[in-house]
Symmetry: C2
Subunit: 352 residues, 2 copies
Amino acid sequence: MSHRRYDAEALLTWATACLQQAGAAPEIADAVAYYLLEGDLLGHSTHGLIRLLNNADWLAQGKSLNKGQPEVLAERAATALWDAKFLPGPYVMPKAVAKACEMAKQAGSGTIVVKRSQHIAALSAYLTLATEQGLVVSIMCSTPGQQAVAPYGAKQAVFSPNPLAVGVPSTEHPLLVDISLSMTAAGKVRQAKANQQRLPYKALITPDGQWSDDPLTFFQQPGAALAPLGGELLGYKGYGLTLFSEIWTMALSQYGRTQGHQDGDANSVWVQVLDPSAFGSQSQFIEEVDALFAQARAAQPIKPDKPVRIPGQQACLNKQRQLREGVEYSAATLKVMQRCAERYQQPLPEPL
Amino acid sequence: MSHRRYDAEALLTWATACLQQAGAAPEIADAVAYYLLEGDLLGHSTHGLIRLLNNADWLAQGKSLNKGQPEVLAERAATALWDAKFLPGPYVMPKAVAKACEMAKQAGSGTIVVKRSQHIAALSAYLTLATEQGLVVSIMCSTPGQQAVAPYGAKQAVFSPNPLAVGVPSTEHPLLVDISLSMTAAGKVRQAKANQQRLPYKALITPDGQWSDDPLTFFQQPGAALAPLGGELLGYKGYGLTLFSEIWTMALSQYGRTQGHQDGDANSVWVQVLDPSAFGSQSQFIEEVDALFAQARAAQPIKPDKPVRIPGQQACLNKQRQLREGVEYSAATLKVMQRCAERYQQPLPEPL
């Protein structure tokens, strides 16, 4: 049997205990365990509890700050810059989203840029903090210490595979978009390598300028670079989007690849919340979103048995099912979780 | 000879006269002529004076409002909703960017959402209004009356080919990104049809679900749909970005496909300006941007004779060259401009 299922509540208790054992203050352990698990619940298995070991090790080694608060470096009515001082990302992010929501309710929009947040894991895990209040949210992040994505026309990596996430409330379920602006993300290349598979498309450019779907080329020295979204002919679009995300996160926070090149997986983050009721009635906003989703769903599918889906639809179903029936893990992920259990002397819960 | 060159100043005078003849108030004629020409200067030939005839006809037929101001429907410290009442887009947009700049200098960010703007032409023409003040800007727009782009997995169009533009100041030249979130835009399909060429890639999905590069399929009844950026395997990313732009423009302005389905080319628009000095020092922001561009430019190119370029670099060179040597037009564009000259009895200037 290749997958096993675990009770979500038991996983939360276990993960919290591992993090406390690694030295995290209680409120930090709670937040990190909760939002990593949320990544798994939504189906983002590359950004769930598979990263608990990393998060615990960073705390134990002092690469993450184990207590304290982000520092506010600058603030106006609708914007702020925070220095997270390497506090764990899943602890920092809910605070940044909450502050952006508070600003948006006053000023119409609220933008928090955060430098030196330790890795923030799944961006989509933080979106419902805003959508549950009827607000819309966008999040971008970059990794100053990571060079994995090539500019358009280059065979050498400069940028990180930066994600963009968007959350919008609607009647049925929130829209949850969470995509990288490159053809694929480093986590998916690692996953393909672990599973001894090729990538589903040629997303890599080798040092001799060839397009490749072989994940091993990414780990060679020198390694292949990820191509920006759009690929060989339209990669200038993904390149433009990547510059957008690098500038909105790193240049605005004034903490870029020069300052942060040895910061490992730590992130620079952009969070922006908008209050639809600053523009018009909240109920009419929801009607507009519902109507748009209805039109998208009604579009004739290419394959008759594959109707159009709204991003977030499957994630919300994943979460409901896994809360009910248990959270599923592959053998490869369980191996990493087991290492964490042993290192921090907190036995994994029994599978269901 | 297939291209001819014209003095920019003479074109501006000519285009302004055509628009006044079509009924535009002087300040409206000035702005529309200026920003359409700016599109040509930057190299966006599908969104330059080729659209003067349309703009003049809309004014003459009352589809564009020929005088007046956008109405402010709602405002907070950092956000506003405007109703442009079908004023010409090139008249509305500089005002929206200016207001967003003013807000950003106070609140850190300024966001103007505009409904019922007549077609805004080239988004990149408005970016330097912010970057010249040291501010960063993003613009998105959608077209409630246009259904040209399919949701991911569908063969039927629901959305418009929405552009996203981004402007950032730097020492050498501003970053100017201006891309559509679909694999191509309707203007480029029209251009390919006019030039009797195939598209450079299969960007169209026919009503029987086939991928095609034949522009004629787009104009059949029922027509082919444009695919979202990312195409057959990664189109969920362009679909997510398209939903993002449709919601940020149409749902926030509460004027979507239901209300605007008969509004032709009129746009819903999102303009957001950020003040880098709200987050830290302006000079350090510019240093970060310069350093990022230097790293991108230093990346080894796939083709040794094609070094990496920064978006906006070529556009700025185009503008300098065409201001110096004249603005170049193809025979097909000149044919449309000649029709405008005749209809509004303003003879085209002599070529250089």
